[in-house]
Amino acid sequence: MIGRIYDMTVVGSGPAGLTAAIESSRLGCKRVAVIDENFVTGGQLFKQIHKFFGSKDHYAGIRGFRIGELLLKEVSDLGVETVTNAAIIGMFDAQADIKRLVTAGADRVGEILSKKVLVASGAMENTVSFPGWTLPGVMGVGAAQTMMNIYRVRPGQRVLVLGAGNVGLIVAYQMLQAGIEVVGVVEAMSRIGGYQVHADKIRRMGVPILLSHTVKEAIGKEYVEKVVVVELDENQKEVPRSEKPFDADALCLAVGLTPNTELTRLAGCKHIFNRELGGLVPLHSERMETTIDGIYVAGDVAGIEEASVAIDEGRLAGTSVAEDLGMISSESAAKTSKERWIRLCELRSESFGEPRKRAKISIVEEYWKVKGNQMGSKKRWFTEINTERAPSAKASRNAPSIKSNDNRKGPRAIIECYQEIPCNACETGCNFGAIKVGFPMTNLPDLDLDRCKGCGICVAKCPGLAIFVVDTSYSEKEATVSLPYEMLPVPEVGQEVEVLGKLGGFVCKGKVIRVVHTKDFDETRVVTISVPKECATEARFIRVAKRSGK
């Protein structure tokens, strides 16, 4: 490593770092290195056992750890060097043409000289303080994920989760998958911050979500034994005598993330505080370059967003590095970057994305203010996008529901996806062209009943587990419901199961009549059960008894 000068060094090997390395070396950069302080590359991807949202280009419908495997294969095929177990302890000569990164491993320090540095250092988990928050058993939700999904150790037997954002909801679901009892998800806000589909996944399994509540205290002698939850009024003040004790041996904090900007701050890049993006973020151009020439950012470090955004930002930054190293022309860089930015705008549209889109644009504008508006050709395409206001959206807004005049016989899909999530996995998954999302992908899916065969592929494909197939004409008294199932044990055909409703309440008994699983479904089984007809609209989950003797 010593003596070489790298074209590009990527700090952090999560989705943003890996895609940036892939993009820049695909475009001709020769000496590209990815540095990570962990044992393994992949950042948080290997903790993510759920399927991702987004489009095909963002690996939608694929589980996070598999995306990690795909990206790592691409990285190694392209000859990108990966260095693990190397924490970056500092960046020196940040302003110079050749930047000096110093790494520390277990027994040595190393120096990496590089023309361009991409900081894709991700995020750090936030914490909150309350009496008992330092007790063993109180941990970040990321820690719980590491225990479960990397080491297959349960963080607790009975766990309370604080925070109903996407991270809290997803990990609560993963805990259920790991056989942990989730005693509740507590959220200080009066609404669920994450996607409803994620909330629905755990609610149908009976997990209560307590809104306008927070943790008052964690109690225990040596570790958490009890967690006291308290209600909050509209001013976020505790409601007197509203304490509710929960027996729990672990409390997982999912109270947000902060961009991990230590390295960009140390290097001297200009930063700005932006609440929408999770705190202090480095100013960066539409090309992802910071206020210091040759230092770029991508992913959560540039603002807390989603993996799909990180993937596109990584590609955007990779293209800029290739351009700045003279591997591609400014025209061709501008062309692809413009398309990428438009797609980033697409990911950032509608209720969940719009505030972040505005925040990102303000970061770029602030960057140009600092840089003295020396716009030139680089800025031009960005100005064009802003005037075009792409994507203007609000194209289709058909609420997917069973229409009352729907007298069709046979199975049909029911899509319970009511929020503008940037995802079109159902559209690309359907072999019959029955589901339309279109542009932008935040559109709600529209089901064409004439084309829907009720095949159930979309049930397995939807990363939000929000699609069901119902056949009300199964028999005279019974209907069938096909639902996605990712738990153990797997039910067997003929087995009688308890059927649960949307909020996890007991609905009826049901009988398993089919279990479909293909490699393509990747462990999401489509289980078809028969239930009394009147229960078909409510039946959304099954409880499979553990069979004795196994």
Binding site: G90, R100, V102, V109
Partner: protein
């Protein structure tokens, strides 16, 4: 313009300024202290807490340091704010015979100046500090050296000033000093307040030159960067703070000072190492003339760590968690500048203590308070007078 009235305005809220303000307020003198940044944010917030007496050059500085020690003894009883004062004794590590020769003559002349100090064997030194390497020819030892927490002392002094009725203005700087007929009249602040005052004390540390320039008094203080590395918290490994001979040489030999100044690219490290009450080990430091840059460099971190490991090999098992740098206010001749200016009456300078600020802060406070209250220092301090720089410009 809002107006205030006081007897003394102290410019600078570091250890020197806060100590002066404290001693003044103890005498019932009305004082306003201006600190342009905040609490412990400058030199006094970025140094170690070693209060070495035996490192002082025999002569006026050593005499001052010995008086300073007495002052500490009073202060630790008087100040209601604990600042981790402990008289641990101190050592200077001697690695070879040529260093030994130098230290023998240094110790001899210190003894002649009344300091309790001696040279001890490696065995004796290792009894006092078992982690010390065997690869030494001996060490000096003085029981008088002590350690304090400079941050707590700074805050404690400021709290003391407040308790005595003094005014502390944080985030406020002096912009203009009004002089009439060669006498101090007022200070105008960046907030637009005009403070009518009889005295101004320039305790602005590395910015003392700028404050002096407001009244055309040459106060040639320059910033010298000292980088320090910090370990994680450790069990007691260093009961005694230590210096190496290079530290002493740089201080006492004018030729060494000149040499260092002529070769800025060569990193000059004089080791000073102590363990704090919290358990961390602070190890420094470089002396670099790099203006007001308070960055840290990998080169310095490495150099300091290597020297430290040479003397204390056991530390290799432990981690360094932080590095920081502070700007030491240094003067052309290595002596602090303390006393009334010759051209402006009641403009008192107290700056340029370089690495001796911790040891000399209380005594400087006492001296300045006497100059203000009685018109003269408690004992002659002509060597430190600002007059010695009259007519000379800071190069």
């Amino acid at each position: 313009m809002p107006e205030l009235k006081t007897e003394v305005v102290v410019v600078g809220g570091g250890l020197i300024g806060s100590s002066i303000a404290y001693y003044l307020s103890e005498r019932g003198i009305d004082v306003v202290l201006l600190e342009k940044s905040g609490l412990c944010l400058e030199t006094s917030g970025a140094c170690s807490g070693m209060c070495f007496i035996q490192s002082k050059k025999p002569g006026p500085t050593l005499r001052l340091a010995l008086k300073g020690l007495e002052e500490y003894d009073i202060l630790r009883k008087e100040l209601s704010y604990p600042f981790e004062y402990r008289q641990t004794g101190g050592m200077i590590l001697v690695e070879n015979n040529s260093e030994l020769e130098l230290m023998e003559s240094f110790v001899r002349s210190q003894k002649e100046n009344g300091l309790d100090v001696k040279i001890i064997s490696v065995k004796e030194a290792r009894e006092k500090c078992p982690s010390l390497t065997e690869n030494l020819v001996g060490t000096t030892y003085s029981p008088l050296d002590c350690q304090i927490d400079p941050l707590n002392l700074n805050v404690g002094l400021i709290e003391g000033v407040k308790k005595n009725g003094g005014t502390i203005l944080l985030g406020v700087s002096a912009e203009k000093i009004g002089v009439k007929n060669g006498e101090i009249k007022s200070v105008e602040t960046n907030e637009g307040t005009k403070i009518a005052t009889d005295f101004v004390v320039n305790a602005a540390g590395v910015h003392a030159h700028e404050v002096g320039a407001m009244v055309d008094v040459n106060v040639p203080v320059m910033p010298k960067r000292g980088q320090v590395i910090v370990t994680e918290k450790l069990p007691e490994l260093l009961p005694v703070p230590m210096l190496d001979v290079k530290y002493i040489m740089a201080k006492v030999r004018p030729s060494a000072r000149k040499e260092a100044a002529s070769k800025p690219e060569k990193l000059d490290v004089g080791l000073a190492i102590e363990q704090t009450v919290a358990g961390t080990i602070l190890s420094g430091s470089t002396r670099e003339l790099v203006g007001y840059d308070t960055g840290v460099t990998f080169q310095a971190m490495t150099a300091i760590a290597r020297i430290m490991l040479r003397y204390l090999p056991v530390l290799e098992n432990f981690a360094m968690i932080r590095a920081f740098s502070g700007l030491r206010p240094c003067t052309p001749d290595g002596y602090p500048i303390i006393g009334e200016a010759s051209t402006v009456r009641r403009f008192v300078v107290a700056a340029g203590h370089e690495g001796d600020g911790v040891a000399l802060a209380p005594i400087t406070g006492k001296i300045v308070s006497e100059i203000v209250a009685r018109g003269a220092p408690p004992f002659p301090i002509d060597e430190f007078s600002p007059k010695r720089f009259d007519g000379k410009q800071l190069s």
